[in-house]
């Protein structure tokens, strides 16, 4: 179906954006890469009166290392994220996640800010930033806020953003950690039936501060507290991995969806747990 009739205007600075939003009120909608929004307009899931394009706002661009964190501007496109040297050096989990997001032509347009704001429960980047214990930096006419990623995703397609507030960027603490992401999808590039983004440290052979974050199995990224606790302080081996798989039952309550029943999702999550944690043991022997 064709898009609804609507207005279009391009903001070129943050003050410009605030005045556009103030003028057009609640029926104005922000557009970044448009790779989700324009598809949903074709389904007539919403009919905004005006699209306010933020893609040329320079304050929302760029990747840098500042004050102990890797800062990624909201307008960083998936393709840029995938080839950025600072991201590869400090958050290789994101580099690894990019090829799993949609297809090349979509990765050339879609942005990290759009992905986090849309908060699709099967999306890769929300799970990654929770696993990396990142902070979402927001901006509005009232100023900036900093929201821990684990508190940012509040429910299905819901975030802690207030009306009139946007994502300015994310900040990922610089730390030495092991991280990996894997998913199971029907077609390469499709949304995951189930996925796992994990980060942890290994100190003297023992697991420290593990964060196992599942996606495609809940209303948002699921930080698995029980499975993570089952690993904490233990050597990473077959026994602790089995304990994490066992404890996972307490963490997940997957809804039935197009892909299949809750039991199938639980099974996939357990399989991914072994694959991802196994990759920290002997990366070379890993086969998906």
């Amino acid at each position: 179906m064709k898009w609804p009739a609507m207005g279009y205007l391009r903001a070129t600075s943050l003050p410009d954006l605030w005045s556009a939003l103030a003028q057009h009120g609640a029926s104005a909608q922000i557009i970044a890469g448009g790779q989700t929004l324009l598809a949903t307009l074709a389904f007539r899931l919403s009919e905004p009166s005006v699209l306010v394009d933020i893609i040329r706002i320079p304050e929302l661009r760029g990747v840098s290392v500042t004050g102990g964190a890797l800062r990624i501007g909201a307008l960083t496109r998936h393709a840029e994220l995938g080839r950025d040297a600072l991201v590869r050096a400090h958050a290789p989990l994101l580099t690894e996640a990019v090829p799993l997001i949609a297809h090349p032509a979509i990765r050339n347009r879609g942005t990290i800010g759009g992905s986090l704001a849309y908060a699709d429960p099967a999306a890769e980047l929300p799970a990654c930033i929770v696993a990396l214990d990142a902070v979402v930096v927001t901006a509005s006419a009232a100023g900036e806020r900093r929201i821990p990623a684990r508190d940012f995703f509040t429910d299905l397609l819901q975030t802690a953003l207030h009306p009139g507030e946007i994502i300015a960027g994310v900040e990922i603490p610089l730390a030495a950690r092991h991280s990996a992401i894997q998913e199971i999808a029907r077609r390469s590039g499709d949304y995951a039936m189930a996925g796992l983004a994990a980060a942890l440290r290994l100190e003297a052979g023992c697991v420290v501060a593990p964060r196992l974050v599942y996606f495609g199995v809940g209303n948002g990224p699921v930080l698995a507290a029980h499975a993570s606790a089952a690993l904490e302080g233990r050597p990473l081996d077959a026994g602790s991995i089995a304990a994490a798989q066992e404890a996972l039952g307490e963490d997940l309550d997957p809804p039935q969806d197009l892909h299949g029943p809750p039991d199938m999702k639980r099974h996939l999550a357990r399989v991914l747990t072994a694959r991802v944690l196994g990759s920290f043991l002997a990366p070379k022997e890993m086969a998906a």
């Binding site: 324009l38 598809a39 074709a42 394009d53 090829p99 077609r187 390469s188």
Partner: protein, 177 residues
Amino acid sequence: MITLTVNGERVTREVEPRRHLIDFLRLDLGLTGSHAGCEHGVCGACTVRLDGEIVRGCLVLAASLDGADVVTIEGLSDSGEVADLQANFVARNAAQCGFCTPGMIMTAADLLAHEREAGRGTPSRAEIREHLSGNYCRCTGYQAIVDAVEDTLKARHPVADLGRGTAPAPRSSEATR
């Protein structure tokens, strides 16, 4: 009112915000080589080059393109950039009804243009499949299409490194494709 470059020519047009790039090309400029299939980003039939990168033409607002540089299958054919690829599509019978073909050629041309970037070797067959994975062929000519792209790569780079490119990250779905 937008002014942009399409296949090397400057054009200025009035466009409605609800116009996507593919309808703009087809209906306003008469460039009907690019196809609109699903119009929500899934099939890849609408793939065109925008500022040097492939995009889904159905997920780009024409109104946002002031100052942009667009290349369609017409421009790509006329420049001769993919003459060998097109010849291999014919030789391998990789176009059946032809609906997906312009999008396939645009996507394959992107792979050909970016191959060996960042020190990677010539793309493997698995990488060709991965790169084309967002383009549906309803005639399901995938095997022939991958053959045509692979033949083009081999002919352009007759060195023996074909298949030694970095394989894409292993995926669970790989075995089923």
